[in-house]
């Protein structure tokens, strides 16, 4: 399946991917409205990790055999037919069992009142995830690589 891959040699740590992830998951999908007008602004699902000159954007790997899905105590997590691992936020109770098992550290704790998790959904429905299409350096790509 197509996955998002980071190319750390091109990442400058500008964090535009985080900003556009927020925009992509907002109601308006418009950067100005998202940041200036909307009340429940979503949290970014991609994180830029940075140490000195090294930085890269990281998010859920949408594993072939997702242990988070296997472990989720409520059945909130599932893998859809395209291979995206998605969270049904109505069901998630924020127990963090998935955080206990995700071998990539790719799930964030939500800080909303209800404590749902925050994770990449590959911008389901879009041809290319927002973070990928808005990275000015092509430091994140969306492609089929198969097993390396």
């Amino acid at each position: 399946m197509k996955r998002i891959y980071a190319r750390e040699e091109y990442c400058v740590g500008c964090r535009l991917c985080e900003i556009f992830c927020v925009v992509g998951h907002s109601k308006s999908k418009d950067i100005i409205k998202t940041y200036k007008k909307e009340e429940d602004r979503p949290a970014p699902r991609v994180v830029v990790w940075e140490k000195g000159p090294l930085s890269f954007a990281f998010q859920c790997r949408h594993c072939d055999q997702p242990v988070c899905v296997e472990a989720c105590i409520t059945g909130a997590l599932s893998k859809n037919e395209e291979g995206a691992v998605l969270c049904n936020e109505d069901k998630c109770v924020g127990c963090w069992t998935c955080i206990t098992v995700c071998p990539f550290g790719a799930i964030k704790r939500g800080d909303s009142e209800k404590k749902k998790i925050v994770k990449c959904d590959l911008c389901s429905g879009e041809s290319e995830p927002f973070c990928v299409s808005h990275c000015p350096n092509r430091a994140i790509v969306f492609e089929e690589r198969g097993v390396e």
Binding site: Y5, H62, E70, G75, V93, I99, T100, P103, V147
Partner: protein
């Protein structure tokens, strides 16, 4: 092929999904003593506290049984297994034949010997009906001061829920601190303080000795003779695998039912998974029951694959738990205390967080993370894959530890990730 599954919870749902992955044809019958579609047992305390509504308790979509062509018989208790005939017995019904049988019966709560308890109103905290009865009693305004026996995972979740309902909760624990199965003393005290701030009272190193009959006001008597008033007694003193159905069968059992790497008992056509089964613990290097939800699902799934004929070996697993109280999170995995003397323990303690890492031969054996739990799964992976941590051990103590703190080759491997990631093997 006729598959019969006794029990309808995590292991059972896993088995249905495992069977259907391999065999779209065979008939699957699920027999459940409880009268609900599979629900998330860990959510019963959320339900009691009013945090989750009944319709959100269910573990799968409403069309799960239909989609997987499962005949679900609810409210049917299996009372016997006739292994020679290959049938199971249900009260008031013809024997039900099976080709492959799965025991997914879980565990039942333990009632410690307490004088007079048989004559009393007391509650367990295990099944959905238990919390519905407790809820009913609370709604009738009959409860002000619940008393919980046991400060383990279940007792503490019950305490949290009841405190959230505004009741003044007392917990009586035989051990020296709370959550003895997953926490060492220092982090346990940290969590205890949080709970005390919410009005929960703890009595340690005592047991409930007697429940005097017909007293008003009601109460219990502790092992030191002290009396404690209560109008709701909850017993959360641990659980035991439910062996009642296999007592007479010629198959190996210990604490739980012994299974091999295919989740098969000593009888070829009988499998077991979940809280009733003793699977392989990769860290303790022995077969034992690890009573956790993810492990039950995974074992059930494996059992399903094997029952349907796809031989799939279990790699084993280890204990892991994620739990939290009043928003204060705790994640633990593996072995959390030095046992053999050749372990190395690294620790970082702050007023509101605690991290303990246990290594043996530079490999992570287990951890306790309290207050600050982000990316704990990276540690779980280090345990599971037995990664040599000698060059970056100290990095794991950093509060913002992430992939950047791993050596280049490991980090690259993680960043690529996703393909061929195996099951974590939790339990």
């Amino acid at each position: 092929m006729k598959y019969v599954i006794v029990g309808n919870s995590a292991a059972s749902v896993g088995a249905v999904e495992g069977i259907r992955k391999v065999d779209p044809e065979g008939t699957i019958m699920v027999l459940s003593e409880e009268s609900y579609p599979a629900y998330s047992r860990p959510l019963i305390s959320y339900y009691l506290a009013g945090k989750v509504k009944e319709e959100d308790m269910y573990y799968r979509d409403p069309d799960f049984y239909e989609k997987n062509r499962v005949e679900l018989l609810m409210g049917k208790k299996v009372i016997g297994i006739a292994q020679k005939q290959g049938t199971v017995e249900v009260e008031g019904q013809q024997p039900i034949p099976y080709d492959r049988l799965l025991l997914a019966v879980g565990s039942s709560p333990y009632l410690p010997p307490i004088k007079g308890i048989d004559n009393q109103d007391y509650y367990f905290f295990n099944y959905f009906n238990d919390v519905k009865e407790i809820e009913h009693k609370i709604m009738n305004k009959q409860v002000t001061q619940p008393l919980i026996i046991g400060a383990g995972l279940v007792g503490m979740k019950a305490a949290e829920a009841l405190a959230l309902l505004g009741l003044s909760v007392t917990v009586v624990e035989l051990g020296p601190h709370i959550l003895g199965s997953i926490l060492s003393e220092a982090p346990a005290r940290m969590v205890q303080r949080r709970m005390e701030e919410k009005g929960i009272r703890f009595i340690f190193e005592k047991s409930v000795k007697e429940v005097p009959w017909g007293q008003d006001p009601q109460g219990v008597i502790l092992s030191d003779g002290q009396g404690v008033l209560t109008d709701l007694l909850i017993v959360a003193a641990g659980a035991r695998p439910r062996l009642e159905l296999v007592e007479e069968l010629p198959l190996g059992k210990n604490q739980g039912v012994k299974v091999n790497q295919y989740m098969q008992t000593d009888l070829e056509d009988i499998f077991a998974a979940g809280d009733v089964a003793e699977g392989w613990d990769t860290l303790q290097e022995e077969n034992r029951v690890i009573p956790i939800w993810p492990g039950a699902y995974r074992q059930g799934f494996l059992a399903g694959l094997n029952m349907a004929g796809l031989k799939t070996e279990d790699v084993g697993g280890f204990a892991l738990n994620s739990i939290g109280f009043f928003g204060f999170p705790i994640i633990t995995a593996g072995v959390f205390e030095a046992k053999e003397g050749n372990e190395e323990v690294l620790c970082r303690e702050k007023p509101n967080s605690f991290l303990q890492l246990v290594f043996r031969n530079n490999r992570l054996l287990g951890f306790i993370k309290v207050g600050e739990v982000d990316r704990a799964g990276i540690l779980t992976w280090l345990i599971k894959d037995r990664i040599d941590c000698s060059t970056f051990k100290e990095n794991l103590l950093k509060p913002d530890f992430c992939l950047l703190d791993l050596p280049l080759a490991l980090r690259r491997d993680r960043m690529r990730g996703g393909e061929n990631v195996e099951s974590i093997g939790c339990a």
